[in-house]
């Protein structure tokens, strides 16, 4: 009897924990994705430049292309994606519990997140920083003018903590209103609930450009933090982490090699460069090393494009420059690990 109860209890406990994979040690995301034929990718919705939906209901944006990059590498089809909408509050828990395979949507790489949450970062794909927007009419010209101001921010972001650190270090008083996501925080700022709104500059610029009257607002020149964005996967699955890392690396490599969406096919047929041949899967068997097809990197470049193309597609219309995100040889921080 007792044993039956215990067995029942154990069964129910397992049911209750069905959301968690049986154990990180033997989780194999790649097999799951291949079996499913779809990549489950977490996206934060309604973030101009990063993640939007066009008139035909198709998703586009920098984050979306990140999802497509991984899908192209793993499944050979950049569109074989099941998008899972999340907000910054639920992102990490959703990933931890196996609700998505990858979260490539603007999570800052920090020590605590990396070491305590059971998640692994997969390499920085965008260098951003935290900026502020204010109303021009307020006459505020730098962050230090915001003494005593009310500032809106999204919850569960590094922005919330950076803000506290910055103001505390300068002994400046401020009042904070913390919203569940960037969209709501910005709306509150627009409704004059706050004197300033803060988030990382790429997302901020995208949202301000999209406003009806962008001229009334001003993005301050000060950037108060480093926000290196990286993809995130569950910890304990090194092969999957490698795949996501090398998928992102491939876009930067493609730009270094001078491969673009339109030239990659021709280059594959004609190039004599040994590294490019290994990269595109003509020789070397690199795809098999990752557990993927040989043309994995070729599919990324052909379907999504190189890093510069992706950046230009989503951020140039918003008036954003490459800056730190230029290739290393152009004075930026983007550098591809070698294919050898």
């Amino acid at each position: 009897m007792v044993e039956a109860v215990l067995r029942l209890g154990r069964g129910m406990a397992l049911c209750a924990l069905a959301v968690l994979p049986a154990g990180g040690a033997f989780a194999d995301t790649l097999s799951d994705v291949l079996e499913r034929g779809m990549l489950r990718c977490a996206v934060i919705e309604a973030s101009p430049g990063f993640s939007s939906i066009d008139a035909n209901g198709r998703r586009y944006g920098f984050d979306i292309d990140n999802c497509r990059t991984v899908a192209a590498a793993v499944l050979g089809d950049a569109d074989a994606i099941e998008y899972v909408p999340i907000n910054p509050n639920t992102a990490f828990t959703t990933l931890q519990s196996g609700g998505v395979d990858v979260f490539p949507g603007g999570a800052t790489w920090t020590f605590l997140r990396d070491t305590s949450m059971g998640l692994d970062y997969t390499g920085t794909y965008l260098y951003a920083g935290q900026g502020f927007v204010v109303r021009r009419a307020s006459g505020v010209s730098s962050v230090t003018d915001l003494e005593g101001a009310t500032i809106c921010v999204a919850q569960g972001t590094t922005n919330e903590q950076n803000l506290a650190d910055f103001f505390r270090a300068r002994r400046m008083k401020y009042s904070i209103v913390t919203f569940a996501d960037v969209e709501r925080g910005l709306n509150a700022y627009l409704a004059d609930r706050c004197d300033a709104f803060t988030t990382e500059v790429f997302s901020l610029a995208g949202r301000i450009v999209a406003l009806r009257n962008p001229g009334e607002h001003r993005i301050l020149g000060d950037v108060i933090s480093k926000e290196p964005f990286s993809g995130l996967v569950r910890q304990g699955d090194p092969r999957w982490r490698d795949i996501v890392f090398w998928a992102f690396n491939s876009r930067v490599a493609a730009e270094e090699f001078g491969l673009t969406m339109s030239t990659v096919e021709e280059m594959r047929a004609t190039t004599e460069d040994a590294e490019i041949r290994r990269f595109l899967g003509v020789e070397g068997g690199f795809g098999r090393q990752l557990g993927l097809r040989e043309d994995w990197a070729y599919q990324i470049v052909a379907q999504v494009g190189n890093y510069g193309e992706v950046f230009a597609r989503h951020f140039e219309p918003l008036g954003l420059e490459r800056g730190l995100n230029a290739l290393w040889r152009d004075g930026g921080l983007m550098i591809a690990m070698p294919y050898r």
């Binding site: 009897m1 109860v5 215990l6 029942l8 209890g9 154990r10 129910m12 406990a13 397992l14 209750a16 924990l17 968690l20 994979p21 049986a22 154990g23 990180g24 040690a25 910054p88 509050n89 990490f92 828990t93 931890q96 605590l112 997140r113 305590s116 949450m117 059971g118 915001l146 003494e147 005593g148 101001a149 009310t150 919850q155 569960g156 972001t157 919330e160 903590q161 803000l163 506290a164 650190d165 103001f167 505390r168 401020y174 009042s175 904070i176 209103v177 913390t178 919203f179 569940a180 709501r184 925080g185 509150a188 409704a191 004059d192 609930r193 004197d195 569950r234 910890q235 304990g236």
Partner: protein
């Protein structure tokens, strides 16, 4: 049940086995909880997620706009939790007070012989009871409060009370040179007063009170209607004024019928304060399940603390109301 004596031996046996069955069920429940706990723990370990409640003593590092006790970014997380709990309770107490007041007046208004008063009360009931409370909160926050003027054109309710889209500002009360009350002063970005209610608080307070007030009004009305007609008539026959009959004769009797359903409404209202997370009022769901969860990365522990808090306070409310109910119950019934 306790008073009745069990006379038959068979009943005794049945009671005995019922006792053992309950023991067994209780044990099974405990075993289940322990198993769930341990499985969760080992699963989290396998996933590489840290667990434990040690994070409560780490430095919070984030700011909370409304805190009833001293709090800075340097305070430990458990102080942030205390701040969030107090904010939750503050909102709940304000809502329970206003909703009860509204419910009482509207409930009595519904019984009024004055056509206008009873119709207005009915209209209030139908409007506020039939719209989901979250929508009402959004309405007060996004529509009504946003219609408030900006800093420059603030409304002075009196010389000492300032209302604008940043909140409701109360005067400074100073004890420095004797006792003095000073009006809020305008700073560069906001009024600075002794105390202020943030718009998020106001929207929740109004929204939750109006919604739950409509339910309470129905409870109050049914309570008064449960008082026998003869009681009203007897009071009137004694020469008491209608208001006195209401207060001294009908109300104490109505209270008996009102308290049990009122407990449910109070508990629902308390739990509904968690809707605050939708509009950035720093209560426990927003601060703890939102910010702290992300900061500490301990979803299981964070949820456990929050659940224990809600369950605990709900039990407390039920217990207090139960005691009150016992006190007003007719003896001998």
């Amino acid at each position: 049940m306790g008073r009745r004596r069990s006379g038959f031996p068979g009943e005794l046996v049945r009671k005995n086995s019922a006792f053992w069955l309950q023991c067994l069920l209780g044990l099974a429940l405990v075993a289940l909880v322990v198993l769930v706990f341990r499985t969760t723990q080992s699963n989290l370990e396998l996933l590489g997620v840290q667990s434990g409640f040690d994070f409560l003593w780490k430095k919070a590092g984030f700011s909370i706009s409304q805190h009833l006790i001293p709090y800075t970014e340097d305070s430990p997380i458990w102080v942030a939790l205390a701040v969030a709990i107090l904010n939750t309770l503050l909102l709940a107490v304000f809502c329970i007070f206003l909703a009860s007041l509204l419910g009482l007046f509207v409930g009595i208004g519904r019984l009024s012989s004055n056509w206008l008063v009873s119709r207005l009360s009915l209209a209030y009931l139908e409007v506020f009871r039939n719209i989901p409370v979250l929508l009402q909160i959004f309405f007060w926050y996004y529509v009504a409060l946003r219609a408030l003027p900006s800093l420059e054109s603030s409304i002075f309710i009196s010389d000492y009370l300032v209302l604008n889209n940043r909140g409701l500002y109360f005067p400074f009360i100073e004890f420095a040179n004797g006792f003095s009350i000073n009006p809020p002063v305008m700073g560069r970005f906001a009024y600075e007063g002794g105390f202020y209610l943030m718009p998020e608080f106001l929207a929740l307070w109004i929204g939750l009170s109006l919604y739950n007030g409509s339910y309470i009004s129905e409870i109050v009305r049914s309570g008064f209607q449960s008082v026998a007609r003869g009681q009203w008539e007897a009071g009137t026959a004694l020469g008491l004024k209608p208001a006195t009959v209401l207060r001294r004769v009908a109300f104490p009797q109505a209270l008996r019928a009102v308290l049990p359903p009122l407990t449910t409404v109070y508990m629902n209202m308390f739990k509904a304060t968690s809707l605050a997370a939708a509009i950035a009022y720093p209560e426990i769901v927003s601060v703890f399940v939102g910010t702290v969860n992300n900061l500490a990365g301990r979803p299981v522990e964070v949820m456990a603390v929050s659940l224990v808090f809600y369950a605990g306070v709900s039990f407390l409310v039920a217990w207090l109301m139960g005691r009150w109910n016992k006190r007003v119950t007719l003896r001998g019934q």
